[in-house]
Amino acid sequence: MTATRLTSVLSLMVKFIHTADWHLGMQAHFLPDEARARFAQDRFDAVRRIAELAHEEGCAFVVVSGDVFDSNHVDRQVVAKAVDALSSFSVPTFLLPGNHDPLDPSSVYRTAAWGEKKPPNVVVLEEAVAISVPGAEGVEVIGGPWNSKHQLGDPVAQCYEAVPSADGAHRVVIGHGIVDELSPDRDDPSLIRAEGMRGAIKEGKAAYIALGDRHSATEILGTDGRARYSGTPVSTDYGETDPNEVLVVELDGGASVVGRRTVGTWAFVRQSFDLNGEQDVRVLEEWLDAVPSKHTTVVKLALRGALSLAASAMLEDVLEHNRMTFASLNTWERQSDLVVAPDDADLAGLDVSGYVRETLDELRAEAVGSGGQAVVAREALSLLYRLAR
């Protein structure tokens, strides 16, 4: 069997798109209304972009390795828009139910809205049965769908041993979940065993394993690049490595040549700054100025240091200004430790006397330290500074 496969591999040359984690219907609740709407819409646009790519690249089919929908409980409108976006695909497109949209009885794939409108070339992989890909002779796909939010056992393992759809077919296995070697929680029963994948590829039971769940594009070590996470085509959160892309996979003999294509534009950026004077504020300002595509960029700033009232006011101005251009610009409260206290220059610049001056002095004394009272006092000082300026 294995010998037969290896023989036929030699004559194979097929191209397809591996993508995953579309999370259609995801609500970026952390965004302002306007950006939130764009963020939602851009996911559907990304699906259309993938369809275009498939066409442009001459791909024979597309596999989506789970989490096509953000939830089984998305609004009907989301399903309708998804069906609409999927109708732009001209090649067979295989969708795998993931942990966000498991094929449980409440599955979005079991609704009338989906069942009645789904384009004919879109196939939901409902069980681990090998399917010949129409128009791609010698290639079959097989997926291990999630049937519940609580998957018990490696969802991919069963795919290696399933009966092939045809003799010598090259099997593209589609799976969703965390690979054990990448998971901090080794006791999770749904983990995908890396060793199993390596074995399957080595034994020719899988020509390529298209993984989903991890939003960063990732290659599984020891698989010769044949087991990969494609990452999400539209970034969803901070900390994602190389998101906004899909993989173009070529099965050519024994090797897969992967090309990465950018689809999404959204960026989630966390940046730390030490601010200890107006000069530092200017550095921050320059950094912000340099960020491209601000309208699709979500920034979280970790600000540390100590600023004078004047510098703090300047910082506020900078942030206020940039909030108008960025999709979202916030401080990362947990990681921030910025002390704002008036310095001599601040106070010298204030034309106050009498009891106001005494008030200022008292607040300055209170503002020393890090307790709650000091924080309030610093805020009060800033306010006084603002009102007296």
């Binding site: 609740h29 001056r357 805020e379």
Partner: protein, 886 residues
């Protein structure tokens, strides 16, 4: 600021007015009402405040009515380093001119002049304070609103040591901004404003929404999980169905085989039971026969015994009957004897009764006769007594008179002729009408007192006549005779002797009557006559009746006592006869009772005999019949035969049962039943799960695509936004609250510090008026007088007298004016004039005088302009410049 001169023209009712003022000290402007004093002050205010182009109401109001003229004001002022002339004309020929003379000459017109003037005022003076220090009579007594006047604050600050703690206008403006900022987060009273409250409420609501959506999603996920489980269970259950069907098939076959054996068991059991039943029947038949034979025998025996008993009892019964007949006879004889005795006794009783009654009647009759007789006697006596006119008294009187007469006669006779008749033979004579019989030898002598007539028989009538000569004796005699005659007449007797006879008779009659009465009473005894008569009548009647009844029974002359004895004897005979009759009756009852006992026993025996005879006949008949069907031997043989059949049937049954037991039918059936129940249960489970599955599916379908996760995310986003917003708002609120708190405290402290000089100044002036003990308390923020201690105890300003209020209001203004003006020699004047317009109308002359001194003191430090229509009121102000108008 010092005003050195004011000129007005065509201003209200004033044509022209031009007044020079003392720039440092008190200027008193005197003039009658309407001359334009107040207009001067008003004009100066308008000059400062209103552009020449203004057509506002205050400007229109100063336009003289009915005159085509334009109001004009000009003032010469010193402000700080400036000395200038400022003039304006409104309404017509509008113009504004500012001529600055010092320090550098400037000439400006129009708005430029107005603006420049404002600039100078702003920089060098304090227009607000100036307004506050103007005191106008007629406008209610008010304290100067100088609390926020920058120049006063600055002056006080300087007076307090010039540390700048008072801050001044800029600081207060900042304070105002802080307060405004605070009002964004708190109400005046420090509570949360509606907006912040709403946000908190909104957050609560959103959190509720998040929880609700989360809950719905959780339920949905649970439902999906349940549905998945159900579907999996359905698969399992459906897989069980054919397996269970196979089990049922196998078990059915086993059970059918067992049922065949069971049927055999049933058959042999039935046969065995039937044989047993037949045996019981044969034994029963035989036993019944034996019993029947016994019964027939004993019935015959019983019959014989009873017949013998009855026969032996017959003589006793006859004897008893005869005894009863004898007893009846004896008793009847006794009864007849008793009847005879009672008859005799009756007769005897009636005789006694008759005799008794007769005697009673005789007694009544005798008593009745006696009564009748006595009553006749009484009647006769009563008749006599009724006729009798004499009684003992009359008799005694007659006797007395007769004696007297006899005496009289004697005496008369002694002297009187007497008539003597001597009968030769018995002859009947009538002497004076009295019949007498004259016997020979017995002479009839008669004294002749009167006429005497003597008739001798039918022979002769001799009359002896007496002459009419009377002597006493004769008179007495005559009287006596007359008297006696009267008495005798009364007694209806003719003579004394007859009278005596009559009386005797009378006595006899009375005795007779009384005796008769006695007798009558005795005879009546307890009755009266009619009763007695009635009793007699009744006795007679009864007697008559009884006599008829008892006719013939009465033996002739039988006496009552005898009759009684006989009656008693007859009663005794009756008693004896009755006793005998009772004895005989008792004997009869005993005999009857004995007979009844025997008769009852006989009846019973007869009854039993009847029954025994029937029974004997019946049993004999039945036995005969039975034997006709089956002989005793036949029955016995039948028992033996059937016994053998029972034994063989039992053997066959035991064999079948043993076979059944070895087949374990309970287990086989239990397995079949179990398999069937399992099938039922599995099918029911399948149905139940299918229903549940359909319901869950429906729920998932309905709820699953409402975009719950979107809505949850949205609600969460809102919560986060709001929380962030609230967090930052709370931080800002805390900051502004803290800033406000410290500012307030510091401001209060500052005010407390610089209120001192003002207070000192007010008190210094007050001492001039009220003496050294005075103490005026000032509010540190408003600078108003709070209390005044004028006579030992503090009194709130509002409670002071009108005069005192007015005086303190003026003193406070003077103190302000003095404080804001620099001390002499300090160079350019910066303070503002104090204008007192017709004040102190409530103050007494003593206070007015002292107030004049206070004005004088204040005038050293500041310009004071006093407007008055009463020149005398300010006479006490020494060193004042007085300007008289009109």
């Amino acid at each position: 600021m010092r005003i050195t001169r004011i000129s007005v023209r065509d201003f209200r009712g004033v044509d022209t007015l031009d007044v020079e003022l003392n720039p440092s000290g008190v200027t008193i402007i005197e003039g009658r009402n309407g001359i334009g004093k107040t207009s001067l002050a008003d004009a100066f205010m308008l000059l400062l405040d209103y552009k020449d182009s203004s057509s506002s109401k205050p400007i229109k109001d100063v336009q003289p009515i009915g005159r085509d003229v334009a109001p004009f004001v000009e003032a010469h002022l010193t402000i700080g380093p400036y000395r200038l002339v400022y003039r304006k004309q409104w309404v017509k020929g509008r113009k504004t001119e500012l001529e600055i003379i010092e320090p550098r000459h400037e000439q400006l017109v129009g708005d430029a002049a107005h603006n420049r003037m404002l600039e100078i005022l702003e920089k060098e003076s304090d227009a607000d304070l100036f307004r506050a220090l103007r005191y106008q009579q007629g406008v209610a007594i008010s304290q100067a609103a100088v609390g926020q006047a920058p120049s006063l604050i600055a002056a006080l600050d300087a007076a307090a040591g010039g540390t700048g703690t008072a801050g001044g206008a800029r600081q207060d403006a900042l304070f105002e901004r802080v307060e405004q900022e605070r009002l964004k987060y708190f109400t005046e009273k420090g509570a949360l404003p509606v907006g912040r409250k709403n946000k908190a409420a909104q957050l609560e609501e959103l959190l509720g929404e998040v929880a609700a959506f989360g809950d719905r999603i959780r339920k949905l996920e649970d439902a999906a999980e349940r549905q998945r489980r159900i579907e999996s269970e359905l698969l399992d259950l459906k897989a069980q169905v054919p397996e269970i069907a196979g089990q049922i098939n196998d078990s059915t076959k086993t059970v059918e085989a067992i049922e065949e054996v069971e049927r055999r068991v049933e058959r042999t059991r039935h046969e065995h039971e039937r044989a047993g039943s037949e045996l019981r029947e044969a034994v029963t038949a035989r036993d019944a026969r034996v019993q029947l034979v016994g019964v027939a025998a004993s019935a015959a025996e019983m019959l014989a015994t009873l017949e013998a008993d009855i026969a032996s009892a017959a003589p006793g019964l006859e004897a008893a009957k005869a005894a009863v007949a004898d007893a009846v006879q004896t008793r009847d004889a006794a009864r007849a004897a008793l009847a005879l005795a009672e008859q005799e006794a009756g007769k005897r009783r009636r005789v006694v009764e008759l005799l008794d009654l007769r005697r009673e009647r005789d007694q009544f009759r005798e008593r009745h006769e006696r009564v009748i007789a006595a009553e006749a006697t009484i009647e006769a006596a009563e008749q006599f007594l009724a006729r009798c006119a004499l009684d003992d008294a009359l008799l005694r009187e007659i006797d007395q008179v007769a004696d007297t007469l006899a005496v009289a006669r004697g005496r008369a006779a002694a002297g009187k002729p007497r008539f003597v008749l001597e009968a030769l033979q018995p002859v009947h004579v009538v002497v004076n009408g009295e019949d007498r019989t004259a016997e020979p030898g017995v002479p009839l002598e008669e004294i002749v007192t009167g006429e005497v007539e003597v008739i001798i028989g039918d022979v002769a009538r001799v009359s002896v006549l007496r002459p009419e000569s009377t002597s006493d004796a004769e008179d007495d005699l005559a009287r006596a005779e007359k008297r006696l005659a009267e008495l005798l007449n009364t007694a209806r007797v003719t003579s004394q002797s007859e009278a005596h006879d009559v009386v005797r008779e009378r006595s006899l009659q009375e005795t007779e009557r009384d005796n008769a009465r006695q007798r009558r009473e005795e005879a009546l005894f307890d009755l009266d006559l009619p009763q007695l008569a009635a009793k007699l009548g009744r006795a007679e009647e009864r007697l008559a009746a009884l006599a008829e009844e008892a006719a013939g029974e009465l033996a002739g002359d039988e006496l009552l006592e005898e009759a009684r004895v006989r009656a008693q004897e007859a009663e005794a005979t009756v008693r004896d006869a009755r006793s005998v009759e009772a004895d005989r009756q008792t004997a009869l009852a005993a005999a009857e009772s004995a007979l009844r006992v025997l008769e009852d026993r006989g009846i019973e025996q007869q009854t039993r005999l009847g029954g025994a005879r029937l029974e004997a006949e019946r049993s004999a008949h039945e036995l005969e019949e039975q034997r006709g069907v089956n002989s005793d031997d036949a029955l016995e043989k039948s028992v033996e035969l059937v016994t053998k059949r029972v034994a063989s049937a039992a053997e066959a049954r035991k064999a079948a049962e043993s076979e059944l037991a070895s087949g374990d039918p309970e287990t086989a059936r239990a397995m079949l039943e179990n398999a069937q129940k399992l099938q039922e249960r599995v099918l029911a489970d399948i149905r139940a799960r299918e229903i549940e599955s359909a319901e869950t599916r429906k729920h998932l379908e309905l709820e699953g695509h409402e975009g719950l996760s979107d809505r949850l995310a949205e609600a969460r986003a809102k919560v986060e936004d709001l929380q962030r917003d609230l967090g930052s708002e709370n931080a800002r609120a805390a900051a502004v609250e803290r800033l406000h708190a410290i500012l307030c405290a510091k401001r209060e402290q500052a005010h407390q510090a610089y209120i001192g000089p003002f207070r000192e100044k007010v008190n210094a002036y007050a001492r001039i008026l009220y003496g050294p003990q005075v103490d005026i308390e000032i509010d540190p923020l408003s600078f108003e007088v709070v209390t005044g201690t004028l006579n030992g105890s503090p009194v709130p300003f509002a409670s002071l007298s009108g005069g005192e209020k007015e005086q303190l209001a003026v003193l406070a203004r003077l103190a302000c004016g003095a404080l804001v003006s620099p001390s002499p020699g300090d160079g350019a004047p910066r303070g503002v004039p104090v204008i007192i317009d017709d004040a102190l109308g409530y103050s007494d002359p003593d206070r007015l005088e002292k107030l004049g001194a206070a004005f004088g003191v204040a005038g050293k430090d500041c310009q004071v302009i006093v407007l008055t229509c009463e020149p005398g009121r300010y006479r006490g102000v020494g060193g004042a410049t007085v300007v008289s108008l009109g």
